[in-house]
């Protein structure tokens, strides 16, 4: 059966089936934004304590594709488990649509999770897996059958409804896990690194699938990943986490072009870190002096006190720098790596640091100067960004 995106949207947005009374009564709010207020979770084993989530405050509006991004151990999965209700916070609150969730167990929260390894029930068919939540909500067999068919159509898995999870591929299991979590029409869908077990090609397909599903269902997605590329591609907003804290929240463009912290710049994309001294400050930017003596304008992170004379770190993305006749930095051309669409050029600056720039490869372009030549580097207007440590 082939259903168009519009048809699927209509299917999903039918008035929700009556939920189990206690859940329906609790969740009659029209909003489904999440408010996380000063949330902390400490794990302790023996004498050692570990702050997995450290005083996190964040607001996730309705219908947003929100991503928690960070290296393993940064607390992103714990934060997700706190929202799901699998962990209890040591302090702080979580509200959904203005109603407090903190004391509710997972089975009383209108939130569903897609687990990292899908956690499909091995003893049930694909259809029974998808219908499980509805069965637990006490819906009639007819209703369940109807919704299951709908959900399997949504993820294009109708033909495999009677298979067992062990009899379908990883990508198909992924779709079933999505359908199972979406079937009870949750207010919020939590996704814990759902694509990490897939190979690269399948991951790309599933990324667009996820984006499509989020647009069609209008559900708030909270997505956890350590893959920066995935985060940049999918998200409306990204929160970068490190050591249990959220370092920066913003749109992918903001996070990438204007990282506020050195960690963020380092974790997402490639960066050149330059040491500079502030010579002049404006409202949101400052004029800084580089080690070469040249002065450039760099953006300041929000609410950073920048006194004149202070030494700061400036970030320049490799693709925002170029070889030029006149530049702000000089160095010796040391390496050139050809990547097809672009060439990565490494230059040893006069202060000994290595600077990387990326040059788009076009037809009829001037060839690169020979290795060992002294070259000038120019930095695009507005590309330099001061970061906190």
């Amino acid at each position: 059966m082939d259903t168009s995106a519009d048809e699927r949207r209509i299917l999903y947005n039918q008035p929700p089936n009556p939920l189990r009374p206690e859940i329906a009564v609790t969740w009659n709010a029209t909003r489904s934004d999440i408010e996380i207020i000063d949330l902390s979770k400490v794990f302790s084993s023996g004498n050692e304590t570990f702050k997995a989530v450290d005083h996190v405050t964040v607001h996730i509006p309705d219908n947003e594709f929100f991503t928690l991004l960070g290296p393993s151990g940064c607390g992103k999965t714990t934060l997700l488990r706190l929202i799901a209700g699998f962990e209890q916070p040591n302090s702080g609150r979580i509200t959904l649509g203005g109603q407090d969730l903190t004391a509710l167990p997972p089975n009383r929260r209108p939130i569903n999770t897609v687990f990292q390894n899908y956690a499909l029930f091995p003893h049930m068919s694909v259809a029974d897996n998808v219908g499980f939540g509805l069965r637990m909500l006490g819906q009639s067999r007819r209703q369940i059958k109807h919704t299951v068919t709908e959900m399997l159509a949504l993820v294009e898995m109708e033909s495999l409804a009677h298979r067992r999870p062990a009899q379908i591929s990883g990508g198909q299991q992924q779709r079933v896990a999505l359908a199972r979590a979406l079937a009870p029409r949750p207010r919020v869908l939590l996704l814990d690194e759902p694509l990490s077990a897939l190979d690269l090609k399948l991951r790309k397909t599933m990324q667009s699938e996820l984006k499509r599903l989020q647009a069609e269902t209008g559900i708030t997605f909270v997505f956890v990943t350590h893959d920066q590329q995935e985060a940049l591609t999918l998200s409306d907003r990204i929160a970068v986490m490190h050591n249990g804290k959220i370092l920066q929240i913003g749109s992918p463009q903001e996070i990438y072009t204007h990282p506020a912290e050195r960690f963020v710049a380092d974790f997402i994309g490639d960066s050149n870190f330059l040491t500079a001294t502030i010579v002049h400050t404006h409202a949101e930017s400052a004029t800084v002096k580089l080690s070469s003596g040249a002065q450039i304008t760099a953006r300041l992170p929000h609410a950073m006190s920048a006194s004149i004379g202070r030494t700061v770190t400036v970030v320049v993305r490799p693709e925002h720098a170029m070889l030029a006749d006149q530049g702000v930095l000089q160095g010796t051309l040391e390496h050139a790596l050809y990547f097809g669409t672009d060439t990565q050029v490494q230059i040893r600056l006069s202060d000994g640091e290595l600077f990387t720039l990326r040059r788009q490869n076009t037809v009829g372009q001037l060839p690169l100067p020979a290795l060992g030549t002294v070259v000038n580097i120019a930095i695009a207007e507005g590309a330099a960004q001061v970061v906190r440590h």
Binding site: R20, I23, A84, G85, F86, P105, P106, N107, R108, I111, N112, T113, F115, N117, A119, L120, F121, P122, H123, M124, S125, A127, D128, F132, G133, R135, M136, L137, H162, R180, A181, P184
Partner: protein
């Protein structure tokens, strides 16, 4: 590949290598069973043993009895009640072992990784003590002047001791105690393999704790239940020591009845026929059981 001729050295050495297995199968498994089958169709010797004279009297006596005065034939109610008691007690033992074994195994399986071995070790400790001694220990606990009755009498809850020893109840308690580890160990093995995220997934999908138990845990540890039930039911139905000591010789089970025929009864053919009857009961019970549990409840819902 073409099969090698029988007299080829490789074929010969293969047969030679499998001799130990063949000898054991012949001498220890099928051989004795054949002897028992043959004995059940012979006549009893006057001082035990058999005389080589074909007779179906042994099998006849399993199900029917002759009146010693007028030779009239009636059903062997005594045997039937012993069959029934054996089956019932073995089933109840399996049931109670499962009811007690499940929480025990769950408790062990949910301990931190380093301490589970210790708990498993504690479960197996009773195996180190002789079965007879353990059974006498139970006798000490439940007899009229035993631990339970003394305590209840002393605190004034009862005026007279409760008769527990030499009842079916005593046999049930004894067998459940003795066979419990055989249920706990396979249950633990299947719980150990259980993926905790499945429980979280069910809990996340609006299942209460009881429903997680019913819809996820129980179906997934079913193999453990099957293995444990078989391991408990088979020795329980043929139990000898426990009913002998705790049943006091009045509440016989099949094992005791068979022993009686080879001992005081001096009726080896009847004993052999009873032993084979026990075998058939176990086989039928297993077949019915496997049929029942192999049905797929989840598929029936769909």
């Amino acid at each position: 590949m073409r099969p090698l001729p029988l007299n080829h050295p490789t074929t010969l050495s293969r047969w030679l290598l499998s001799t130990p297995a063949l000898v054991i199968l012949l001498l220890a498994a099928s051989g004795p069973l054949l002897i028992v089958l043959v004995y059940s169709f012979l006549s009893p010797g006057p001082y035990g043993g058999v005389v080589w004279e074909f007779s179906t009297e042994g099998w006849f006596q399993v199900f029917f009895s002759r009146d010693i005065f007028d030779d009239s034939v009636g059903p062997a109610y005594a045997h039937w009640s012993i069959f029934w008691r054996s089956v019932r007690l073995a089933l109840l033992t399996t049931l109670f072992a499962a009811l007690l074994g499940f929480p025990t195994a769950w408790f062990i399986a949910t301990r931190p990784a380093g301490t589970r071995e210790l708990w498993l070790f504690l479960v197996t400790i009773p195996f180190w003590t002789n079965l007879v001694i353990r059974t006498f220990a139970i006798q000490e606990v439940i007899r009229n002047q035993g631990l339970i009755n003394s305590v209840l009498l002393n605190i004034g809850l009862i005026n007279q001791p409760i008769q527990m020893l030499y009842t079916d109840f005593a046999i049930l308690v004894g067998m459940t105690y003795v066979f419990l580890p055989l249920m706990v160990l396979p249950l633990y093995a299947s719980m150990d393999k259980l993926d905790g995220r499945l429980l979280e997934a069910a809990y996340d999908l609006y299942a209460s704790r009881m429903r997680v138990l019913w819809h996820i845990i129980l179906p997934l540890v079913k193999p453990g239940f099957i293995a444990g039930s078989i391991l408990v039911f088979i020795p329980a139905i043929g139990a000898y020591v426990t009913p002998r000591i705790l049943g006091g010789g009045r509440h016989l089970m099949l094992g005791n009845l068979i022993e009686l025929q080879f001992g005081q009864g001096r009726n080896w053919p009847l004993g052999a026929a009873l032993a084979l009857t026990l075998l058939v009961i176990v086989l039928v019970a297993l077949l019915v059981y496997i049929r029942l549990v192999m049905r797929d409840p989840e598929r029936e819902h769909g």
